[in-house]
């Protein structure tokens, strides 16, 4: 079975994630909890940004960061798989997609929740972040749908890699064009609560919240990857049994 041992043995990853994932879960939970506590109760509200509802930014902004970062990670993992065919890279890309889609949806949902009482609409076409994230959601969903539509695991990996790389190369262009589009139509105040403009009192909970979400995301990716590794092992063993080898 020399051919099948080309499946790079993931023992090291399984051993690493065995303790790293729980650590990330714990650290992530702590940071998110602290960020939420700070954001929901401790920091003063900003009337200009909508009053109390703007506190949802402590979920909304980290979710946006994660949406972007996770798509990039998925694209990079796909590229690594495409060039070096290391199966763990494909497993990583496959695991990131549904989680990236979830955080993207979370960003859109919290953005809508913020927007409705503040600006009266559930959806703001002039919000560059929301638009970019919406298209990221389509990119994630397209990736997942394409992989699911393929006949075999190998074909799903190849199709996904092509799409993720094309998408990855397009994301900067999409973001640039969306930023250009929204900067022209700036009639209402955009949710610009990032960068040096923001007061330090908001910045720290935001950063900690961002870190917490990232750690949680990382832990979930590892969990999904472990599940996928075991699923593939089981499928191979079942196939061997069927073949009588």
């Amino acid at each position: 079975m020399g051919m099948l041992s080309a499946f790079a043995n993931p023992h090291r990853f399984l051993a690493l994630s065995n303790w790293l994932a729980p650590l990330f879960y714990a650290a992530g939970a702590v940071l998110i909890a602290w960020g939420l506590w700070q954001g929901l109760w401790m920091v003063p509200k900003d009337e200009y940004q909508g009053g109390d509802i703007m506190r949802v930014m402590f979920i909304h902004v980290p979710a946006a960061w994660l949406a972007m970062a996770s798509y990039s990670a998925m694209a990079v993992a796909s590229f690594v798989w495409f060039v070096w065919r290391h199966e763990l890279a494909d497993i990583a890309a496959k695991a990131i997609a549904p989680l990236g889609a979830t955080w993207t949806a979370l960003c859109l949902a919290t953005g809508s929740v913020w927007g409705k009482p503040t600006w009266g609409t559930w959806w703001q076409w002039d919000d560059a972040r929301m638009m970019s994230v919406l298209f990221l959601l389509f990119l994630f969903l397209g990736y997942m749908a394409l992989r699911a539509a393929m006949d075999s695991r190998q074909k799903a990996a190849r199709a996904g890699a092509i799409l993720a790389m094309v998408g990855g190369l397009n994301v900067p262009l999409i973001k640039f064009s969306v930023d250009m589009f929204t900067s022209l139509h700036q009639d209402s105040s955009v949710i610009t609560s990032e960068g040096p403009k923001m007061a330090a009192v908001y910045l720290w909970p935001l950063l900690m919240s961002g870190l917490g979400h990232s750690l949680l995301f990382g832990a979930l990716v590892m969990t999904l990857m472990r599940a996928e590794i075991w699923t593939r092992r089981a499928a191979r063993q079942r196939a061997s049994l069927l073949a009588g080898t």
């Binding site: 199709a159 998408g167 999409i174 064009s177």
Partner: protein, 221 residues
């Protein structure tokens, strides 16, 4: 390496797209739909029509690309022609580009050429802008067809892959749609928009064929 297979692929795709004259009906169908049905649907107030006209044409272009592309690669997979093209001795990316270009010529370019007429029906001012508009729609449509072609190639083995193609292509269409509509409206930032549209179309022409080639090799595998 000779260009003969690429030219043959182009010619075959062209004749397939025009098969029985049906090829000519598609862009006319979208044109008619846009020009006639939309005012019936949204009202005939001239100021509003003037504003939405360019957007309507972009939607028509996008839909026209998605509808034509659904079959071009899937048919080749099903009847075994793709196997022959993969062994024709020319780069698969060039063959894929030739086929996509042929379909743009049949379904995308006519819409762009007819855009001055559509613009007039949508109460635009007559003038040189209409001609530059046709160029804008031509460039934009080319990008739509090439990115859509990537979706079509990836979905070539999927039954009823039309929805999947649309889902894959939609985010890729965004920069073209934005730069294109900015170029048409000539609003603030409209000076750089045509150049940006040109650049993003070139990007599509450069990248999409390689993605299509990888996807087609996968489809034949």
């Amino acid at each position: 390496m000779s260009p003969a297979p690429i030219l043959s692929a182009f010619r075959q795709a062209l004749s397939e797209a025009w098969a029985g004259g049906a090829g000519a009906l598609l862009p006319l169908g979208f044109f008619a739909g846009a020009a006639v049905l939309v005012p019936l649907g949204i009202g005939t107030e001239p100021g509003m029509l003037r504003t939405v006209g360019p957007g309507i044409l972009w939607v028509s272009l996008a839909l026209s690309s998605l509808v034509t592309l659904e079959r071009i690669f899937q048919a080749d997979v099903e009847d075994g022609a793709l196997d022959l093209w993969l062994q024709a001795g020319a780069p698969v990316s060039a063959i894929a580009a030739a086929k996509t270009f042929a379909h743009w010529l049949t379904a995308g370019l006519p819409l762009a050429l007819m855009s001055p007429v559509l613009a007039l029906m949508f109460q635009a001012e007559a003038g040189a802008d209409l001609l530059s508009g046709a160029l804008i729609y031509g460039l934009g449509g080319l990008a739509f067809f090439f990115w859509g072609g990537v979706g079509a190639a990836l979905s070539a083995t999927v039954r009823r892959g039309g929805l999947l193609i649309a889902l894959i292509a939609l985010p890729l269409y965004v920069p073209t749609a934005i730069f294109g509509s900015m170029a048409m409206s000539g609003a603030a930032g409209g000076d750089s928009a045509p150049l940006l549209l040109f650049a993003s179309t070139l990007f599509a022409l450069a990248l999409a064929p390689f993605a299509m080639a990888a996807a087609l090799r996968l489809a034949a595998d």
